[in-house]
Amino acid sequence: MPRWLEDNAPESDVVISTRIRLARNLADVPFPSKIRKRSDIELVHSSAKDCLLKASEFKYVRLSDMSELSKRALTERHIISNELARKKDGGLITSGDESISVLIMEEDHYRLQSISAGLAINKAYNAADHLDIMLSDGVSFAYDEELGFLTSCPTNAGTGLRASVMLHLPALTAAKGIQRVIAMISKVGMTVRGAFGEGSEASGAFYQISNQITLGVSEKEILMRLLTTANKVIDFERHTRRELYRNLGIALEDRIWRAIGVLRNARKMSDVEAQKLISDVAFGVALGFVPKLSSSTLYRVMMDTRPAVLAEGNNSAQPQQRDVVRADILRKVFDI
């Protein structure tokens, strides 16, 4: 379902995606938490539509017109936040492949988002920048010469830029190297968190690294720092993968092939179990054990089998049927 995933993306053995988000607000309208006038809310929506729907590939939807299931599916695909899904005045503009999206009336009037497969910081940023310029041609933003772009939460002020990469770090997770990554990253003003399961346990060794500082640094500096940090973590993960294989050898191979065995035979599987097993197989693919599968195939099937995404694509399968449908999908993919 995430159509922006592509084969052979840069560094895709470790990096799933690069994501850029720009926070923007209209100059003379209160931020969403304090917006009261109906006409102001409509202005926020219509300004974005007027500026962006000129590009015919974009489509606009009001969240109040969407089913709960579709909204959940969007949050599982990391397009919208839970916060936006709950808002009755929210809106969303997306490109056909969902690589570009604009969240309307979340914490700020606009969150401009761009996602690219693999490590592709230039590509993701320049797409978001293009969107920013299209919008700024038609509206005036809340902007201050000293403080830059003004946002609802001062933690986003300045550039309003949050740049992140989603990484798959099975070896560092297994070898307890994540603490060192966290220490290394926090020193340079970055943060790391589990990519799935909000705040709680990171399932399947997927992590997101992003910048914390948005003011007093330029976009280029933020992106450079992200690139340098990501490259360090990628090297560290690859090194640890080789070390683990050297130390564990057949035991590691066994674990990976057992994961494939379960995935190709199970008749019922929960989301959490699927993520853990797919994470193991992705590790094997990166080590070259499983030539018939690619990292992008695994990332895609992982997204496709998340509960709401799966239900949306399979006639709104009820929760108790989902585990069966999930196992069916997985059996086909892992029948290698």
């Binding site: 100059a27 003379d28 309208v29 209160p30 931020f31 938490s33 304090k34 916060e83 914490e107 910081i121 230039n122 320049n126 920048d129 310029i133 700024s136 041609d137 005036s140 933003f141 809340a142 902007y143 201050d144 010469e145 000293e146 403080l147 830059g148 772009f149 003004l150 609802s152 001062p154 933690t155 002020a157 300045g158 550039t159 830029l161 603490q179 966290i182 926090s186 020193k187 340079v188 003003g189 943060t191 790391v192 968190r193 705040g199 709680s200 346990e201 990171a202 914390q212 500082i213 948005t214 003011l215 007093g216 640094v217 330029s218 976009e219 280029k220 992106l223 450079m224 690139l227 340098t228």
Partner: protein, 164 residues
Amino acid sequence: MLCDECLKNNATVHMTTFVNGQIKTVHLCGQCAAKRKQTAIIPGFSFNDFMSAFYDTDDSADVVCDICGTTLLEFKKTGRLGCANCYRVFETSILPVLKGIHMNNKHTGKRPGERLDIDIEKAEESINKKEELKKAMRMAISTENFEEAARLRDEIAILEKEGD
């Protein structure tokens, strides 16, 4: 009280978190608290520091934004501002906090409508090349090969000019 996470064990740890502008207290058992510590958001600064910076400020008199009605106390509680004007109204409270979170208080990024055309891979390459040249220059100086050192110095100067 039961643990919020596993709903099985007794909660013994009470953590206050600041998520999406909301302060929440979570009650966890020892096991779940330890798990959460491993994977929790660990930023360069903590949101708790960010909040305590507010509490350090004097709040004897409440200030109100005349445009959106947000009060200083409300901002201290939620961490959210109500409109662009709030930045001016609460300036004296916000600036020290901004300074605590960010590099400094002066925006150095793009202006509205500016096109950046970022090429950081190239920028990174040039930084690496500069490092190499500097190393070679130090080497040339230490071996008293001053002609070579001067040539390298000029090459570095050209690279520095290119990267803004």
